[in-house]
């Protein structure tokens, strides 16, 4: 049997990417709130999983390094080391290093390059230094001393014994013992609970707003000491709390009895009733204690302190809410399935074929005119439509995750350049096709970097300009008429029109003194090699960015527009079509050949009358209800030689706020087809985005409306110049 290691490594890499993403997210959360225990726990779990998996697969480089990181995280989880700006920064760098190591492993690189090796060693050293400076809290010290002090037999009780005397001001502090007891009961099984009122004074003296309650509790729980201590986080300062772990030494219980204010016999009874001790254990121990009292020093129990010193802003109920939410979140996680992308693509293909086949059957059934057959065909078509919609939805992923990655980018740039910036994300649950999301990541990264690097000014400059010192980079996504719009905008200094014109003129891209609209000027920055950045930073400015961005977006059949106002900010708007493998189209005939126009871009169809036709021949536009409508004769555009029809029709299409008319011979109507790519040979043809096979076997070409429109507008402008 051959071990399918290749598959395992693939899974490992995918998993690690997610875990690393999770780590980064947790670290940023921790930066905002260094006491967030959930974030620390999540960090530890992620690192632990990465270490374990890499170990199993024999990826030693990752395993060894992650092991050191895990050490630090383990101490942080125990509360012995607190999160600080310094060690969070260190952990972020370590996370990046782990990512690098994993990439190397994925590429099969055996020997780690010297530079990376050195970087890793430096990080390991910093980690070691963090671990040396271990901050021992009083709790740890007390714990140590306590452990050593008691010898002798242990209790057989497998429950935690919690003794608490609430402080007088518990109510005034806005808290109530009810919530603590309630919370404890949810942490496990409360095998016994005894309320004590011994400290309640006489009727006259009793202050109704003071708390005189105490409890002796036995709790069977799988939670560890830290978790139980944390329950009393908010009251520890005023309360007397003692927590004895299961199977504590009997001597510990005796000591507890000695140190509690109530009557010793009463306390003994309570302990026995709660199951902490048996009666004989209690009697024996009390006798021994009495004997030793006469000889040894009385041991003093230290107050068990709660770890750390931080106070959570949430109240216990909120913590309980979080616990509930976590449970349901993990339930939800369990109901997702990981699918091989190739299998999903194969499924989409099959569904496409099914759609074509269904259309075929529909056509035939119409002709046969058998009502039963037509009915069955109709039912089948409806089901096919539903399958198609479901399959399309599977590939859709919310863009929010991609957006969140940029938080780290903004943070890093903020720090490095000494700027103050926020990333605001809206529309994160807008969904895109999975492959589109993967391909749009890099262009977006570049745009976000630009905004942060060149757009947002330094705090001093912003204040001088009367703006708030903190700049905002905004990411927004939404749907609009069959497209998805992604916007990257900032409230920085905007594009400098004059600089761009100067640079372009110097580079020979435009004629000196040419009259250009703002839009045309801004579009110049997409030319290769163009950059007006004063300083080439390590983030951007090398001039290899924007043209690559545009190419990537065009490869997705999208467009990008720029809006900018000097001093106010810049906005980059990316439009991507939502068309995927199967589209709803409007079929037209041009010179006998069928063409398909994406249905959601079709606005209306009008017949071109004789008079209009001859008039239109002289102009390149049509008068549509008083508005100018540029048009293109698809016959000419595609060089069709077929016979010209008696009437011509114009199909008016809209994209991105512009409209043009397509002059065609015949109108066929709505049709649903699968987009098949035309292959590399036809890749550069403007105006076609693919082809399809119709129900009758004919090949219809699918029009790429955005590209077509650009081409037509260029011609229109040229003609009217």
């Amino acid at each position: 049997m051959e071990l399918e290691l290749g598959q395992a490594i693939q899974t490992f890499i995918t998993e690690c990417q997610e875990l690393l993403q999770e780590m980064e997210s947790s670290l940023l959360t921790l930066e905002a709130d260094p006491t967030d225990q959930d974030a620390i726990n999540s960090l530890f779990r992620s690192a632990h999983t990465i270490k374990g998996s890499s170990g199993v697969l024999g990826i030693e480089t990752v395993e060894k390094f992650t092991h050191f990181v895990e050490n630090l995280l383990s101490r942080m989880r125990e509360g012995e080391i607190r999160a600080s700006e310094e060690n969070i920064d260190l952990l972020l760098k370590c996370r990046d290093h782990i990512s690098t190591l994993i990439t190397l492993a994925a590429e099969g690189v055996e020997k780690v390059p010297a530079g990376i090796e050195a970087a890793g060693a430096a990080l390991t050293e910093r980690l070691a230094r963090c671990l040396d400076v271990k901050e021992k809290t009083e709790a740890a010290a007390v714990e140590q001393k306590k452990e050593e002090r008691h010898e002798g037999p242990s209790s057989k009780s497998d429950a935690w014994h919690i003794s608490i005397r609430f402080g007088r001001d518990v109510f005034r502090g806005g808290m109530d013992p009810v919530s603590f007891i309630s919370y404890l009961s949810k942490m496990g099984e409360l095998t016994s609970a005894t309320v004590l009122f011994d400290s309640m004074p006489s009727f006259e003296e009793m202050d109704p707003e003071s708390c005189y309650l105490g409890f002796e509790i036995d709790l069977k729980s799988d939670f560890d000491k830290a978790a139980i201590e944390n329950v009393f986080e908010f009251v520890r300062e005023d309360a007397q709390i003692h927590i004895l772990p299961p199977f504590s030494k009997i001597a510990s219980y005796i000591e507890l009895i000695q140190n509690l204010p109530e009557d010793k016999l009463l306390m003994g009874e309570i302990l026995v009733n709660g199951g902490a001790l048996t009666r004989s254990e209690l009697d024996d121990a009390l006798r021994k204690q009495h004997d030793s009292e006469n000889t040894n020093e009385k041991a003093r129990i230290g107050e068990i302190l709660i770890n750390g010193g931080s106070t959570y802003p949430e109240i216990i109920d909120a913590a309980l809410e979080k616990q509930k939410r976590n449970q349901s979140a993990s339930q939800r996680e369990a109901s997702t399935v990981r699918i091989d992308a190739a299998k999903l693509d194969a499924l989409v293909d099959l569904v496409g074929e099914l759609v074509i086949s269904g259309a075929n059957i529909d056509q035939h059934s119409q002709r046969v005119a058998d009502s039963l057959l037509q009915e069955s065909a109709s039912v089948m078509l409806r089901l096919v439509e539903e399958i198609r919609e479901s399959t399309m939805k599977i590939r859709m992923v919310p863009i929010g995750e991609t957006f969140s990655r940029f938080k780290r980018v903004i943070r890093d740039i903020s720090r490095e350049l000494g700027k103050d910036m926020d990333l605001v994300i809206t529309g994160g649950d807008t969904e895109l096709d999975k492959t589109v999301i993967e391909k749009i990541g890099d262009p977006l990264m570049h745009l976000v970097r630009n905004a942060a690097d060149h757009g947002i000014e330094r705090p001093e400059d912003r204040r001088a300009a009367g703006k708030e010192a903190k700049g905002t980079v905004r990411l927004n996504a939404c749907h609009d008429a069959g497209c998805i719009i992604i916007e990257v905008s900032d409230d920085g200094k905007g594009l400098d029109r004059d600089r761009i014109v100067a640079k372009a003129t110097a580079a020979g891209l435009i004629q000196p003194g040419a009259q250009l609209s703002d839009q045309e000027v801004y579009r110049l920055i997409f030319e290769p090699g163009f950059s007006t950045a004063e300083a080439v930073t390590k983030f951007s400015g090398r001039g290899v960015g924007m043209d690559v961005v545009r190419k990537n977006i065009e490869a997705l059949r999208g467009t990008i527009d720029i809006d900018s106002e000097q001093g106010r900010g810049t906005s980059m708007r990316i439009r991507l079509p939502l068309t995927m493998a199967i589209i709803d189209g409007f079929m037209v005939g041009v010179g006998g050949s069928p063409y398909i126009i994406p249905l959601d871009m079709v606005m209306e169809c009008i017949e071109l009358s004789e008079t209009e036709r001859s008039a239109a021949d002289k102009r390149s536009y049509v008068n549509l209800r008083g508005q100018v409508l540029p048009y293109v004769r698809l016959r000419e555009f595609f060089n069709e030689r077929g016979a010209r029809a008696a009437y011509e029709n114009i199909v008016i299409v809209q994209y991105g706020g512009s409209r043009i008319g397509l002059v065609v011979d015949e109108l066929f109507g709505e049709v649903q087809t699968v987009i098949k790519s035309l292959g590399r040979v036809y890749k550069d043809i403007k105006g076609l985005s693919g082809a399809t096979i119709l129900g009758d076997g004919q090949v219809a070409l699918i029009l790429d409306i955005p590209r077509l429109m650009q081409s037509v507008e260029a011609t229109f402008l040229a003609k009217s110049a």
Binding site: F171, D176, S192, A193, T194, V195, F203, M206, P208, E209
Partner: protein
């Protein structure tokens, strides 16, 4: 929140507490309780009208109980609303108070 007291059957006072019995009106509640207990001997506390109840409310019950018993009389609960029952159960105090069966209305 209001506390009313009626004498029923000789030396038993039926004290009824209606409304919220919690930290927000603990001070007022103690005053009213003091009044109700001053003239009473045995006490039967009807808490069926208590809409909210917390530890401070419980303390007052215990206080009233201790005071009544200190004077040598009997303190009992006759009826408890759900908020009250919840706290008593949570604190495992179901055996603490004497409970008398409710009178049929």
């Amino acid at each position: 929140m209001e506390i009313t007291s009626t004498i029923k059957g000789g030396n038993t006072a039926e004290v009824r507490i209606k409304g919220e019995l919690n930290i927000y009106n603990a001070l007022a509640a103690k005053e009213l309780l003091a009044g109700a207990l001053a003239d009473a001997q045995n006490v039967e506390l009807d808490l069926s009208g208590v809409t909210e109840f917390d530890s401070s409310g419980l303390q007052l019950l215990v206080l009233a109980c201790k005071e009544t018993e200190r004077k040598g009389h009997r303190f009992a609960l006759s009826d408890r609303s759900e908020p009250v029952e919840t706290v008593i159960r949570l604190f495992r105090m179901t055996e603490f108070f004497i409970v008398v069966p409710q009178e049929a209305q």
